[in-house]
Symmetry: C2
Subunit: 234 residues, 2 copies
DNA sequence: GCGCTTGCTTTTGTGTACACTTTGTGCACA
DNA sequence: TGTGCACAAAGTGTACACAAAAGCAAGCGC
């Protein structure tokens, strides 16, 4: 069964949104996209509807489709929700995973470490996406899966700032995250829900600070004034 | 702004699925529905895509749309997931609700008690749906909302068996559930997250047994054989 | 100079024809 | 009688044309 150009369009738009190749809030023109993917407007619109259903885009009547936005208020909600949902999904994954799925997870982790090693930020982000998505499949819970998939959209877009390492400290953090993934695989394979939960929460503690810098840039040093001009000191 | 017939189609199909007027797993024929709602197949298909995105229907390529099914395996997952998600949403609702939303919730609760009083099962189920949906809006968390909406589809379909009271015991249970709703409104208004969580879990303990009978019919009495024919006793 | 209206352009929404896929039925043949 | 194939019927997927709405800009009055 050959992959239809409609499916390709769907997957490609997904990828481009996740990698912020299509920027959050950006406009999606029907005519342009249908020409680009070589399909007519009707199936393209169906693709956009599906993407809207999964939270990748937002449809506005008579005003077309826009890439799902990422505002600061949403980020607070994101970091509030993600650890809880990922932990619960991890717990269920440890209970319900199949051996085949563990192989999938291991393969994805291989892709991730390879991407990190060659400094391919978008590939790393997409592999990380796939990693957590496989854990979601293991959990075998369609209700939480709907939540996870929405979280993963923002997670993946944010994670690129995590994998775009600038200093030695950042590199070390990426290494720690990778070994946490290995530990997660081990805990899931061993069917140890409690350990999976603990590891998941650790994983989020590590990521949070680094990712938040993406939406909250480093604050200016507070003492530049006092050092140079004591009159304006706080 | 007049309500377009497309929106009406969307809302009506939603309602008919939630009330099991359209039975789980049932086939949805495009030609029939487009004739029924007076719109052509193109917009009807968009409606079906949207319903699929929200988990009301399942689309199969070249094989049309079917109403989301409710199997026994899914029910186990449902009762496993719902208390946790509802409790977390309730907690956030207590923290983030606006006074306007509390009025919405109170009005919905009035509709619900009215429907119960006149024995209107489907109206009760739909009001119950609206009640928990408003709490979801209060939580102001799009990630959990996606999960809640999927849970509410099955919750509403199952709740009809809860509101279809047959005996005095069932009637009492419905009354208890209604007063739990009142207590929930009070706790949310008072911004007491812990109390909301406790009440939500109580609410689920009450519903679970009664609802499970819908998918798990009363087992046959175990001792019919032993009473009549001692030779076949266990 | 400013704001409003009006007509033009661009983009989205809907209807319809037609192509393709699936499924059911009848017939030939073993 | 059972199996396989061909054809017919029904239903879904795609393309395109036209209708409707929104955005834009020039012209007009104040």
């Amino acid at each position: 069964m050959q992959k239809s150009s409609k499916d390709h369009c769907f997957e490609d738009l997904k990828r481009r949104i996740l990698t912020t190749d299509l920027p959050p809030g950006g406009d999606l023109d029907e005519a342009t996209l249908s020409a680009l993917y070589g399909i007519s407007r009707t199936p393209l619109r169906e693709v956009l509807q599906r993407l809207a259903g999964e939270g990748f885009v937002r449809l506005e009547t008579n005003r077309g489709a826009k890439v799902a936005s990422m505002n600061l208020i949403a980020m607070r909600t994101f970091f509030q929700t993600a650890p809880m949902v990922y932990a619960n999904i991890g717990r269920l994954a440890a209970e319900n995973r199949t051996t085949e799925q563990i192989e999938d997870l291991t393969a994805t982790q291989r892709d991730l470490t390879a991407a990190i090693r060659r400094g391919d930020v978008t590939a790393a982000a997409l592999s990380n996406h796939a990693f957590h998505h496989v854990i979601g499949q293991m959990a075998h819970n369609p209700y939480l899966m709907a939540c996870l998939e929405r979280l993963l959209i923002d997670h993946t877009r944010l994670s690129q700032t995590f994998y775009r390492a600038t200093g030695a400290e950042d590199q070390a953090r990426i290494g720690t995250a990778a070994s946490q993934h290995d530990a997660l695989i081990a805990a899931i394979s061993a069917a140890e829900p409690d350990r999976v939960i603990a590891l998941t929460l650790q994983h989020w503690d590590l990521s949070r600070d680094r990712m938040e810098r993406f939406v909250r840039p480093d604050p200016l040093p507070v003492d530049v004034i006092s050092q140079k001009d004591p009159h304006h000191a706080l």
